[in-house]
Symmetry: C2
Subunit: 284 residues, 2 copies
């Protein structure tokens, strides 16, 4: 296989793009996809400070790496969930990453804000762990953005994450969740930061390849509470569909986003022509 | 495991219903589900003659068996697709079934109407085989109903078939296909028969168990052209989801049908209150 750009020996084949790349041109391709996402959804401007939520995994550290390389003003935010060794190791990866690149890293302890670390939260509440953890993370991410003066928070959600979330909503016909499924969620209140997902165009395989090629030292283990999570079963199923027809995941997510773009357009027109009748539940 | 009805030894466990049944009570359960489907969607009246499309497989012969046992006036319709041994064997199963029960069986040859059997159609057109075959079947089913004077055609589509079709539409966001996904499709033209799917509440496992327990001699092989069909990959994936969470298939299909029922209600109200503004693309 040869690189699509230079004809040199390819390091990676991307079946859904019917393309292969050598290492330098894959890195270029990856960064272009991020730039395209930022541009298309007007995620942030070149001089706007960005708070990057980092977990120590390949996606969020890969995202931070791209943003630093592209010259954005960034700081990392690590939420310490207090999940035994897993949290200690992932925090160490984030600290080492930030130190090596001379970047600021803010650290927030969930136990400080919620009153107990996640394993304890799981014990005393009836919520599924991932649900309680996700809720705490969304709250603390936003609080940190507000305290440190950031109007926008970037997360490392990739194509597989977004497709799996959409898949779950569709399987359960949770239609009310669909308008919130967007690569860029605007601020809906003066105290709520915008949330953006610049990696939504890149698959998990691609973020792993980027982190590997960029020699990013990340935590490979999954969170110990993720075992048996339906989101993992959904990812597995989507990967099976991808095997049978390359591009299935991409088409599923992007087909939805295109429909959604149409809805947003229609909604915009309605607002402009009848300014008093904002559609309930729609994200502006 | 014990039968939910009589406490006797259970022959079959239905995890999604959290129930188990002995053979006679499973057969009763199965027929009640068919009766519920017919009633709920007003598929046909007790004295209306029904044309049952039979392929020789477990689903369509199982359906025909239920309708005969329930006292409906039925005739079978077998479409001879001309697919080598597969068609010969499946036709023989249908003929034997009809003869043993003293029922009328109409036979139509696709080659006679289309000009060539399905393998030849595949060769000379560029359509995928299943697409050309499905199109021919829908046309010939309706033509036969019209010629023989049947206002309604019943097919053996089960829960797995319907969930897989819905899954495919959703994966590709073919929203225009959704209104047609219904257990009962009304006649939209004087020359088009109604189409109903009385088995839509029953899974493939359940139709297989029914055919087995009723000692129905059916063709076990899949159509040779079905190998590698995406519909099979989708069924496999749905079965994987069902393993992880029993009822996933059922909830996916029925969640959709419930939403759809609401849309139909809303549509009905709109039509009644503003009779001139029929929503385009909606099935009445």
């Amino acid at each position: 296989m040869k690189c699509r750009k230079c004809g040199g020996s390819a390091a990676l084949e991307l079946r859904r793009h019917n393309a292969a790349f050598c290492s330098p041109h894959f890195i270029e391709f990856f960064r272009k996809q991020v730039a395209e996402a930022i541009h298309k959804h007007r995620m942030f401007t070149p001089d706007e400070p960005i708070l990057v939520a980092v977990s120590g995994g390949k996606d969020s550290l890969g995202l931070w790496d791209v943003l630093i390389e592209e010259g954005y003003r960034t700081a990392g935010l690590y939420l310490d969930l207090g999940i035994f060794d897993y949290s200690q190791e992932s925090k160490a990866k984030c600290e080492a990453f930030a130190a090596a690149r001379g970047q600021k890293l803010c650290i927030e302890r969930v136990a400080g804000a919620v009153g107990a670390p996640i394993p304890e939260v799981q014990r005393v509440t009836r919520r599924p762990t991932c649900s309680a953890c996700g809720l705490s993370k969304r709250y603390l991410l936003n609080r940190a953005a507000l305290e440190h003066g950031y109007a926008v928070v970037a997360t490392g959600h990739n194509l597989d994450d977004e497709a799996a979330t959409l898949f779950n909503s569709v399987l359960h016909w949770q239609t009310e969740a669909l308008p919130r499924q967007s690569p860029a969620l605007p601020s809906t209140h003066p105290k709520l930061a915008r949330r953006v997902k610049p990696l939504y165009r890149l698959s998990e395989l691609e973020t792993a390849a980027y982190a590997f090629l960029r020699r990013i030292d990340y935590i490979v283990e999954e969170c110990p509470f993720a075992k048996g999570a339906t989101s993992l079963a959904h990812k597995e199923v989507l990967n099976r569909l991808e095997e049978v027809s390359p591009g299935a995941k991409h088409n599923f997510l992007f087909g939805f986003l295109d429909i959604c773009a149409f809805c947003k357009l229609a909604d915009q027109v309605k607002r402009r022509t009848r300014p008093s009748s904002a559609a309930p539940g729609m994200v502006e």
